[in-house]
């Protein structure tokens, strides 16, 4: 489909982009930068509900000569992305560390990142994959180092950039090889390549190099090591965003790549991913146990969660694939929620140390209860969102007959419960240190409430979400 024809299908993204530009302009005129934030939220929600021009019941639309694949899958992730972003913006508005002089640009950058993320979901050829991944990465680096005053943030952003660039360099090298072997950038053509024996070698190398680049994005071991440092140092809303959105879209892209480009050698990558999945969840969980900083703890936890999600990718069967998507939704609600509480607490205690959560149940019962719900959800306790996700990926492992994987995941879940409960323990069982009250700013409370509802909703009425996922996958 040529560019002009494509445009009418591209309206949501255009809406988002123009929103970004307007917000940039708005920044110049509006004194109260919070308004820019609220504007950004509106733009994002607008994008989410933007009327779809086409009916997606038919074949996927190859917009812009196939550089933007618009299918239900893309739509699903578009909605997910903008909702995550909306939550991020909402929780950023009352974030104490953000100074007004940079706040406007911040929202603009978030909106632009959103565009990049949507591109990731829609990419089906090497060029767009490279472009969108790099785009999102660049934005992530910038957002991480955004806070002017934080030494740590600068340091983390620097590391992030160097690590990320190296990773995408490696992935790009793999792309070049596979491009040479197939003569095309299209994943669908690359798929044919993997069917022929002489090209196994090059396909596998390319696949692994893909895994490096995408593994970096989803913080898969052993390419996860940047993650804790970055999540800890990044501004908390950004950390929340980074643990959720790029990871989700990383998974989206990974599944697209695997299913479109490498489906025929799944007997090769399936065991590989199984090992990596186990490694990831183990490393994440085991390291998390020793953490004393809540953001770092959540960072390792998010690595471990990536490990669980990888189970679904690894099995890639009829429960695994929707499992990944459901897990991502559940995880998005939960993790964003947890970070929201972290922001609210750190706004008043000015600390992210676990110890500052001691006795939170007394100071702020609602926050403590919410964080408990999120922790339980992360631990996979029913009837919360996290359980549904875990249920799905466990199912897929059992269905595929990957007993090792299932058992490893079970053991890991038990280990994980220990550190999630460490937080709960502090809040409820340990006497408080500072008796100060914690304020409830409106945007944060709103976000918290919505995320809480989401966490329960996925857990209690999963069928709605499953239906959405199935629509995304099979239509």
């Amino acid at each position: 489909m040529n560019a002009t024809e494509s445009l009418r299908y591209f309206l949501p993204e255009l809406f988002l982009l123009s929103g970004a530009l307007i917000s940039l302009g708005l920044d110049l005129f509006v004194r109260n930068k919070k308004l820019v934030g609220f504007f950004a939220v509106l733009v994002l929600l607008g994008t989410a509900v933007f009327p779809q021009v086409s009916d997606l019941a038919g074949k996927p639309l190859e917009l812009f000569y196939g550089f933007f694949t618009l299918d239900a899958y893309t739509c699903f992730f578009r909605v997910l992305t903008v909702l995550i972003l909306a939550a991020t913006v909402l929780i950023s508005i009352s974030y104490r560390e953000l100074s007004p002089s940079e706040e406007g640009e911040y929202y603009t950058l978030l909106l632009l990142t959103g565009f990049g993320l949507i591109l990731m979901a829609a990419s089906t050829n090497l060029l767009m994959i490279f472009l969108s991944v790099e785009f999102v990465s660049l934005m992530s680096y910038i957002l991480t180092g955004f806070l002017r005053k934080s030494h740590k943030a600068k340091e983390a952003a620097m590391k992030y950039l160097l690590y990320g660039s190296a990773a995408s360099g490696i992935m790009l090298f793999g792309m070049s090889l596979v491009f040479g072997a197939s003569g095309s950038l299209e994943l669908s053509i690359i798929r044919n390549l993997s069917a022929t024996a002489p090209f196994y070698g090059v396909t596998l190398i390319a696949l692994i190099l893909f895994l490096v680049g995408l593994g970096f994005k989803i913080s898969m071991a052993p390419f996860h090591m940047w993650a804790p440092d970055v999540y800890e140092a990044a501004p908390t809303p950004v950390a929340a965003f980074l643990t959720v959105a790029p990871k989700a879209l990383g998974f989206a892209l990974m599944m697209r790549v695997l299913s479109t480009g490498f489906l025929w050698i799944n007997w090769k990558w399936s065991p590989l991913l199984m090992g990596l999945s186990i490694l990831t969840m183990t490393v994440g969980n085991v390291t998390a146990i020793a953490q004393t900083n809540i953001k770092r703890l959540l960072a390792y936890s998010s690595i471990a969660q990536a490990g669980y999600i990888l189970m679904g990718v690894c099995t890639f069967n009829e429960t695994g694939v929707p499992g990944v998507l459901i897990y991502l939704v559940a995880y998005a609600f939960t993790n964003l929620g947890a970070f929201t509480v972290v922001i609210m607490v750190s706004n008043s205690t000015k600390s992210d140390e676990l110890l500052s959560y001691a006795g939170l149940a007394k100071r702020a019962p609602f926050l403590a209860a919410s964080l408990t719900v999120f922790m339980l959800s992360l631990a996979g306790i029913p009837p919360l969102a996290g359980f549904i996700g875990k249920f799905y990926v466990f199912s897929s492992a059992i269905q595929a007959g990957y007993l090792t994987l299932a058992v490893a995941a079970a053991v890991n879940s038990a280990i994980a419960a220990f550190y999630y409960f460490k937080v709960v323990r502090l809040m409820y069982l340990v006497p408080e240190e500072t008796p100060e009250k914690i304020p409830y700013p409106l945007p944060l409370t709103l976000a918290l409430g919505l995320l809480l509802i989401g966490t329960f909703a996925v857990g209690l009425a999963p069928s709605v979400f499953i239906k959405a996922v199935q629509t995304a996958l099979f239509v």
């Binding site: 620097m158 390419f223 090591m225 090769k268 020793a290 460490k422």
Partner: protein, 647 residues
């Protein structure tokens, strides 16, 4: 009246409920309530007995529990055997309660005492009329409970509290055997009903299972009737109030073991090996206990060992096939032993000591007590025509007709020892000069002496129904009962007086009395010399053959050690291994101290420890140094290459 039989135990039970719940309101009225209940029970029981005497056994039952496809019915069986016990229990029980009203008059927990006694009565009566093993066992255990409660009645005394526990636990060992026996029987024959025993025995004829069942049931007797090797609890049980000793630990409960054998007689008859064992154990017990009694100086301890010995007699009798003899002795023994205990209680009540060596010459001060006590002693010694003579003679006759000379002569020797130690007791307590001038003995009140005399009448006359004067009416009555119970063989068929046996019996009785007189009245210095000459024997007797000490070494200490060892394993190994999983990082000093102190948490703990170690290692990789991260990623990539490209 017979149809009210099932309600006999209900009267004492109601008394129990009233006394235990409203004890603090009824106060001394408790005695009245209990006695009234007992009398009511008597009032129902005696006509029922009369009915059985005239019309044969009575039974009724109702479905209680469905086990698989088999129904377990509970009900009442009143046959002649049951009548004997019912007669004894209601009568003696009532008398002893009357006596207790005087004996316990000043006790702080008066009502509680009567509550327990009533509960006991209820249980014992249930046991007597029970028609199957399970109900029997239930009553049996409740009796054990009452025994426990009453032995430890004066629980402020450590010795009493310990004695109660010992009694319960020791008997429980036997009870478990009984319990397994019941199951064996049920599994083998599918019935627990006494009436079906004959059929059951027939079903299991010649199977080891039958012998096993019989022997296991016998375990119950061993425990309850204080037979070797589980007899150790009974002497200690004398810590309880004396009426309790009389009622429970002399006349009724301990005899229930014998009753159990009698009840299971068809079973035992079908298992000769079991019978043999029963006879041997009984004889051994009889002899051993008598031997220990020779040197005992506590008036109640002498009687306790005497009880064990006499119970051994009954068990031996049953083991020898003397169904009627054993039962007969059970009845007569109940009378005279209850009388002895009550007499002893009266003595204790009168002179506030239990040590024989401090008594002496009490006859003058306590005429009623002394006279009845001597009568009872004559009865137990086997002096004709008192009751003991007839029943003991029956037993010796049974041993004689069984052609078992070892048992016969052992029992005869025991008879000799019995009459010796009884009269040693009599002479030391009631005759001679007072040894301790501080003791100012006085006679007990009428509420206590009247029961003594009533019991004395029983002790004197109870033997008559089984004597040739009444043509062995008792034996024949019982035999009919067994008949009614479904067993074909007759038992009372050949009740002829065997002169040889009578001679032995008489010789033993009088020999014992005379030698006691000679040693303790005529030459009071002689016993000391004898004890020095037969020092090893004397020491053995004095130390009760060291049973308690041996059991301590063999069972009690290893038991405690084992439980402590297992506990240590539990805390320190299993827990430790398990715990290390998650708790390594939970590092408050308190917990750490605890973990240090302890290891079965261990399996989890090991896991936890591993995780902790891994956590430390993995953390170390996270140096914060960028190029370490990249290097790991790069090397990781290369490793992935090699994994994937390997052939």
């Amino acid at each position: 009246m017979i149809h009210y039989t099932p309600y006999i135990p209900l009267f004492p039970f109601i008394a129990f409920v009233i006394n235990i719940l409203f004890g603090r309101y009824v106060r001394k009225g408790a005695a009245l309530i209990s006695i009234a209940a007992s009398l009511a029970a008597c009032a129902v029981a005696l006509p029922a007995i009369a009915y059985v005497v005239h019309h044969g056994a009575y039974s009724v039952q109702t479905e209680w529990l469905l086990l698989g496809k088999k129904t377990l019915s509970f009900g009442v069986l009143l046959d002649p055997l049951g009548c004997v016990l019912l007669f004894v229990v209601t009568l003696i029980g009532t008398l002893i309660q009357v006596y207790s009203a005087g004996y316990m008059h000043d006790d702080a927990h008066f009502s509680r005492f009567f509550a327990y006694v009533s509960l006991f009565m209820a249980a014992m009566l249930t046991l007597v009329i029970a028609n199957n093993y399970l109900l029997f066992f239930m009553a049996w255990e409740v009796m054990g409970l009452c025994s426990y409660l009453l032995i430890g009645f004066w629980s402020e005394k450590n010795s009493a509290a310990d004695a109660g526990r010992k009694a319960f636990l020791t008997t429980r060992v036997g009870d478990i055997g009984f319990f397994i026996g019941i199951m064996t029987l049920f599994a083998g024959a599918g019935t627990l009903n006494f009436a079906d025993l004959g059929h059951a025995a027939h079903l299991m004829e010649n199977t080891p299972l039958l012998t096993a069942a019989a022997l296991l049931i016998f375990c119950g007797t061993v425990g309850k009737s204080a037979q070797f090797p589980l007899h150790v609890w009974l002497p200690d049980a004398m810590e309880g109030p004396t009426p309790v000793s009389a009622l429970i630990h002399a006349a009724t409960m301990v005899a229930a073991g014998v009753f159990l054998i009698a009840r299971s007689f068809p079973l035992f008859e079908a298992a000769p090996d079991a019978m043999q064992t029963v006879a041997v154990i009984g004889t051994m017990t009889a002899f051993m206990a008598a031997f220990i009694a020779l040197s005992a100086t506590d008036i109640k301890k002498v009687l306790a060992y005497s009880t064990i010995s006499q119970l051994g007699y009954m068990v031996a009798a049953l083991g020898l096939g003397g169904f009627a003899a054993g039962t007969f002795h059970l009845m007569t023994h109940a009378f005279f032993k209850a009388l002895l205990f009550l007499g002893a209680g009266s003595v204790i009540h009168g002179c506030h000591t239990q040590d024989l060596r401090e008594m002496g010459g009490l006859f003058g001060k306590m005429k009623h007590t002394a006279a009845t006590f001597v009568l009872a002693s004559l009865a137990i010694a086997g002096v004709p025509p008192l009751s003991g003579f007839w029943s003991k003679d029956e037993i010796l006759a049974a041993a004689y007709t069984a052609h078992n000379p070892v048992i016969y002569w052992t029992l005869a020797l025991t008879a000799l020892m019995t009459s010796f130690y009884m009269f040693r007791l009599v002479f030391m307590a009631f005759f001679g000069k007072p040894r301790n001038p501080k003791i100012h003995a006085h006679e007990s009140p009428a509420v206590m002496t009247v029961p003594l005399w009533l019991l004395a009448i029983g002790a004197v006359l109870a033997g008559i129904p089984g004597s040739p004067f009444m043509h062995h009416w008792f034996q024949n009555f019982l035999a009919g009962g067994v008949h009614a119970g479904g067993h074909a063989a007759g038992h009372g068929s050949e009740h002829v007086i065997i002169p040889f046996v009578v001679a032995t019996s008489l010789a033993a009785a009088f020999g014992g009395i005379i030698s006691a007189w000679f040693l303790y009245l005529k030459n009071p210095g002689l016993p000391a010399i004898i004890s020095r000459v037969f020092r090893p024997l004397y020491t053995a007797s004095l130390n009760k053959l060291w049973f308690d000490e041996i059991y301590t070494i063999l069972f009690i200490r290893p038991f405690g050690a084992m439980s402590r060892a297992l506990y240590r394993i539990d805390e320190q190994v299993i827990d430790y291994l398990v715990n290390k999983t998650g708790l390594a990082t939970a590092r408050t000093s308190r917990i750490k101290g605890w973990i240090d102190k302890h290891i079965v948490d261990g399996l989890v703990n090991l896991t936890g420890w591993t995780v902790q170690l891994a956590s430390a290692l993995v953390r170390l990789l996270q140096t914060g140094y960028l190029q370490h991260y990249v290097l790991i990623a790069f090397l990781g990539t290369i490793v992935l290459f090699f994994i994937e490209l390997r052939k």
